[in-house]
Symmetry: C2
Subunit: 121 residues, 2 copies
DNA sequence: CTTGACCCTGACACTAGTGTCAGGGTTTAT
DNA sequence: ATAAACCCTGACACTAGTGTCAGGGTCAAG
């Protein structure tokens, strides 16, 4: 199939499909006229890419194990687990940071409200 | 004082001080030789900028109320509260999203571990 | 045989703050 | 008077994925 068809089937833009190719995630054949020719399996590949992107992995990270997970169970691919671990740590760091900001914001909002209440008297 | 001195006093890089100026946050005078000349009050200004940056506000947002909060109590500046509210909402959206990713990651990690345990048998 | 829909590559823009370099001027202390 | 340390502006890089445009080729239906 051609790129537009794959885009429609997967909900991923043509632009992004070309980007994934450049990142080494998917390697379509080429027709004589230069058009990309995707196998029907490419739909699975793209769905898999979407799944990992939604887990916060980058295309570069995904490139490191995509071939493996397309052919095997995830548990078989040794690259995956360390990546999940470090990604989880990263997420947790971000959660801590965001929660701190949230608390600070709430403190300051409470102070303002209190201040305004005092003014009214 | 000159920019290097202000940088040392505040812990903010010279580069960033120039950036804050371009963003309209601070307006030093100029000496005859073109050097920026900061008043001692600039230290407070920069500390205030740091405080708001740490709350997740952008330089552009800070520019909208910095003059006011430098001269008044924060509660006096009407621009601040709506900004805090929308920033808090944004933070909460991000927290939800990150927590979802975290749960998904943990699920997948658990699946892999379970799978590997099954393999051992 | 022409029009519209599709495809190609390459490139710039965007976020937002910071690092860093080039190329050049000034000041301060030796 | 020279070297070190400081200042100036302007510009590119970086993240990471996507939008979008330019300029051009291809294909299918009328």
């Amino acid at each position: 199939m051609k790129i537009g068809e794959l885009a429609t089937l997967t909900g991923v833009s043509v632009r992004s499909l070309r980007y994934y190719e450049r990142q080494g995630l998917i390697k379509p054949l080429r027709q004589d006229n230069g058009y990309r020719e995707y196998s029907p399996l490419a739909v699975d590949t793209v769905e898999t890419i979407k799944l990992y992107l939604n887990l916060g992995l980058s295309t570069e990270e995904i490139a490191g194990f995509l071939n493996c997970v397309l052919k095997n169970k995830e548990a078989f691919c040794a690259e995956v687990m360390p990546l999940y671990r470090s990604k989880l740590e990263e997420i947790e760091r971000q959660l801590v940071e965001l929660n701190q900001i949230k608390l600070n914001l709430q403190d300051r909002m409470a102070s303002i409200l209190q201040e305004q209440k005092n003014e009214e008297e």
